[in-house]
Amino acid sequence: MRIAINAEEAAKLVPDGASVMVAGFLGVGTPERLVEALVARGARGLTVIGNDTARPGLGIGKLIDAGCVARVVASHIGTNPVTQRKMLAGEIQVDLVPQGTLAERIRAGGAGLGGVLTPTGVGTAAADGKRVIELDGREFLLEPPLRADVALLHAHEADHFFNLAYRLTATNFNPVMALAADCVIAEADEVVPIGVIPPDAVRTSGILVDYLVARGR
């Protein structure tokens, strides 16, 4: 059996200036207690990699509100006017990446691949500065793998070995981010004994999870 840490301790594992993958899609599947602990710690200068920045007061939006973020790598920021405003004010750098390319770049980072060859973005602004590879007469963008110092995950269930299972559309970026960071921290809605999550239902092995955040008391 392994020992969970509390959210405050977890937040100390994310240094200022770190690159942080935060799972979730408009806040669904985002570890809110971890995010709140980062805000409480007063984290600064983070590079946040995630699908979007949710809304003010929700998920990654809380980090944006609190001024924790220097740079965002995301597919969409249209739901968060604070991100947009801070981008225009030059307070946050925003790198926009097509959503499928973002998922695949993170997967490549975790799978030891040299990059992603995608047809998405060819002939658009997403191709700016990208290497184009022609294969059998078709053009593909060579997109680099993405990794981060830390990944923050949200699971439906975790067991005492830190195996994780996700639920419905809260799955999203969690499984790919679990492989793509040097330090993986997860929070779960429920914690269960080993064996309650059967082998075919485990989506992320506990061997990949460095820390589990204890349930709130």
């Binding site: 408009l26 993170i106 658009t124 996700y166 419905l168 559309t169 799955t171 999203n172």
Partner: protein
Amino acid sequence: MSMDAKELIARRVALELHNRTLVNLGIGLPTLVARYVPPGIRVAFQSENGILGFDTRPPEGMENPDLTDAGGSPISALPGAWSFDSATSFALIRGGHLDMTVLGGLQVDAAGRLANWMVPGRMVAGMGGAMDLVVGARRVVVAMQHAAKGEPKIVPELTLPPTAARRITLVVTDLAVIEPTDEGLLLRERAPGVTVDQIVAATGAQMLIRGTVPEMPIAPAPEGAPG
């Protein structure tokens, strides 16, 4: 018959649904298409945040915070649904497993290219999944108003940044159905009560007009619904 422009567009697009296929509906107007699936047609709708076979919003109090659509709104799931991660979601999209995607549009040009993700000078939102959808779906149907504030949205050449280099499949507007072809934009159908001249006047690009242009058919309204 009284119906607004959005309903008309949605009911026409619904006729493009093929039985037993996978379809992605963009946020906004395209979402309406799900209401008008013709009788006898069964499609699986995919939401790019990770579910196939989703259903409309559940009754108040039965929402699940772990089950939403790509706009973040609570949804339900049909029996037989499948939930999956983001990499798998875009493997489906990019890999050609979607028969069709229905997306909104800002501009379509004479070459059939779509712009729908960015207006320079305005607040940037990001492309989200739009670029992957336009590249990957077998058929891309653009559902949009024919004009915006009196300005044509169908133009000779895009003045807005393109979403993809690829030629889209069909444009369905409140005035017409237009198919981009090798020869150019082919005017296929006109909306009920709309003349070809009215369409030409509201269209910025040259169109091919071959013989008589028929009135657009539309899917029936579901039982119990007005209209």
